[in-house]
């Protein structure tokens, strides 16, 4: 007894164009879908609003307190904010990179797999079939996009509020050179890029942790703790031998982008270090997830 074959080959439903074929091979649609879902979530929007509020609060506080800070007083760049609004973004980045930005990345990265598992949608994505490796890659792309969006939101919000409250003009760099407005904006974007790269290693760590549990809050908390521990270890001189390998070691190094000529060494070291974290924790995530029993 044999029933008629319906669609043994999925490609045979309709003639497939070469471009369409390539699209299917990569499965780009899932990336678009993931980004749409991620950025339209109320939680994501709330976090982006909170990120945008950091430079606003900072700038308003500086503008309201009439007292001038002595050069070097307070966090780096804060003393310069009143003279040039472009420094709001830099000062806000100094404040946000150690804790607040990694916190948002921890929430997004920790939720990647564990969130789908607790919702029960993981089994349906895998049966669709999304493919386990492809799903991990798509989730990682989403987290990296999140890191980029968060840092851009921070600096753009800083630029806007800075230009409203303070004079804006050529920027005096840390090296003493003065660069024009156009180049200053370029440097601001470079700082945002530097901060985003700083966070991709954490994204990979969070992705791995997220494959270990079906409880998203646990994965988020564990991911957020990683940069905190790393920064504590980085502050202990006795551990100087491991400092160059710590996830957070170069996080504040973006100040080197504010010299003339640009000091690229910390940018490169940071990028290589983060790449190392992606390779190590990406592999761990895959080896864990590839054969994991999906019981949620």
């Amino acid at each position: 007894m044999s029933s008629p074959e319906i669609t043994r080959d999925p490609q045979s439903i309709a003639p497939v164009q070469p471009r369409e074929k390539r699209r299917r091979l990569l499965g780009i649609d899932l990336v678009f879908s993931e980004l749409t879902v991620l950025f339209r979530r109320r939680r994501s929007i709330a976090m982006l609003v909170a990120v945008a509020l950091i430079p606003v609060l900072l700038a308003v506080a500086v503008a309201l307190t009439a007292q001038e800070l002595a050069p070097g007083e307070g966090p780096p760049f804060l003393d310069r904010v009143t003279q040039n609004g472009l420094f709001v973004g830099f000062a806000a980045m100094i404040i946000a990179i150690p804790l607040f930005l990694p916190l948002t990345v921890g929430v997004v990265a920790g939720d990647t797999i564990a969130g789908e598992a607790s919702q029960g949608t993981l089994r349906y994505l895998l049966v669709a079939p999304a493919g386990r490796l492809r799903l991990l890659v798509v989730k990682f792309i989403g987290t990296v996009a999140w890191a980029l969006a968060a840092t851009l939101t921070l600096v753009v919000s800083g630029l806007i509020i800075g230009s409203i409250l303070f004079p804006v003009g050529p920027v005096t760099l840390l090296s003493g050179d003065v660069v024009g407005l156009g180049e200053s904006l370029g440097r601001v974007m470079l700082v945002a890029l530097y901060a985003s790269i700083s966070l991709v290693g954490l994204s990979a760590v969070g992705l791995f942790i997220s494959t270990l549990t079906d409880v998203p809050v646990g994965a988020m908390a564990a991911t957020v703790i990683v940069p905190i521990v790393s920064q504590i270890l980085d502050a202990l001189p006795q551990l100087s031998a491991v400092h160059p390998y710590l996830l957070t070691h170069y996080w504040l190094g973006f100040a080197d982008l504010l010299r003339n000529p640009i000091e690229w060494s910390s940018f490169t070291s940071n990028a290589l270090l983060q790449l190392g974290y992606i390779v190590v924790f990406g592999s761990l995530a895959y080896s864990r997830f590839a054969t994991k029993s999906i019981l949620s």
Partner: protein, 325 residues
């Protein structure tokens, strides 16, 4: 040889020392509506998860649509629609958005036709009016329908449906049954798990019964109901005479119970129940009554019991639906 949509060979899954599924050999013919029966905790869902590549078997193997699972997931799963252990969706997305997302997860899901296919699937399960509402506003029954819509986003060769009518009202249950029948009529193989025997009896052509991780019976429904089809029970005070009549009709009667009719005169006492397996059809049963009456047997009760799948199910899995730990 029978063309099988699902075939497992000594499929086993252990969790620690406990074997959730042990050595099962499923054979689901193509084009059948196959009922997968068993009490809670008997290993139905673990089996389904193995068939879909969500859980790796400890030993043994499974072939789905002729290919090895999970090795050939890339070519097998797009041809399979599934509802696994209840529906699950992102609560903050609308029903339609959830389906679009799951279709995008399937590399072979054609983008140009996606919206149309989602609308059609939602229409088939009667969710058109709720397509734009977030899933968190859905009732359990609506989520169940959305899960079914997801299973039918594309033409499928096999549907694996775990408790598809769970949470549906009687109207919804009937609609789901007629949907399943329409799939079967199109040639789709449907593998339905359920603990609702009536449902399996109405829907399925074949079934397998699981108990404590093992398959205790498998085959067409008629095969499952067993060889001794119908039982006839006669209630009469003239026990011996009735037994004689039944014997001469070729049956093997047994006297089930002799009870004194309470409160009646001693002369009327000793009323007996005689039962016998009837290998004949219902028209022969009519002749049997006539024979009894002709022989002067006072027939006070005559019953024909067709064994239900439920009797068989309870016989196979034990009364009480105990969860096996």
């Amino acid at each position: 040889m029978l063309d099988l949509a699902i075939e497992t060979r000594e499929l086993t899954r252990r969790f620690g020392a406990h074997a959730a599924v042990s050595n099962i050999d499923l054979a689901v013919p193509r084009g059948s509506v196959f009922g997968f029966l068993g009490p809670n905790g008997s290993g139905k869902t673990t089996t389904i998860r193995m068939l879909l590549g969500l859980v790796q078997p400890t030993t043994g193997e499974s072939l789905v649509l002729g290919e090895h699972m999970p090795r050939a997931w890339r070519s097998v799963l797009p041809r399979v629609g599934a509802l696994v252990e209840g529906p699950a969706f992102a609560p903050y997305l609308s029903g339609a958005a959830n389906l679009m997302r799951l279709d995008a997860a399937d590399r072979d899901g054609d983008r140009r036709s996606r919206r149309t296919r989602v609308e059609t699937a939602l229409g088939r399960v009667g969710l058109t009016h709720a397509a734009g509402k977030p899933v968190k506003a859905y009732s359990l029954g609506m989520k169940q329908r959305l899960g079914l819509a997801n299973a039918m986003l594309r033409p499928r060769e096999l549907l694996i449906l775990d408790e598809p009518t769970n949470g549906l009202d009687p109207q919804g249950t009937r609609e789901v049954r007629s949907l399943i029948r329409s799939f079967a009529a199109d040639g789709t193989t449907v593998f339905v798990s359920s603990h609702l025997l009536a449902e399996i009896e109405q829907l399925c052509s074949h079934a397998a019964v699981m108990s404590a991780g093992a398959i205790v019976a498998q085959g067409t429904l008629d095969e499952l109901r067993g060889p001794d089809a119908t039982t006839v029970t006669v209630r009469t005070p003239d026990v011996e005479q009735a037994v004689r009549v039944l014997r001469s009709a070729g049956l093997e009667p047994t006297v089930a119970a002799v009870a004194a009719a309470a409160g009646s005169a001693p002369a009327a006492a000793a009323e007996g129940l005689i039962s016998a397996a009837l290998h004949l059809s219902a028209t022969d049963a009519d002749a049997l009554v006539a024979a009894l009456v002709t022989a002067g047997v006072r027939v006070r009760g005559f019953a024909l019991d067709e064994p239900t799948l439920e009797d068989r199910f309870v016989a196979l899995t034990g009364e009480g639906f105990d969860v096996v730990a």
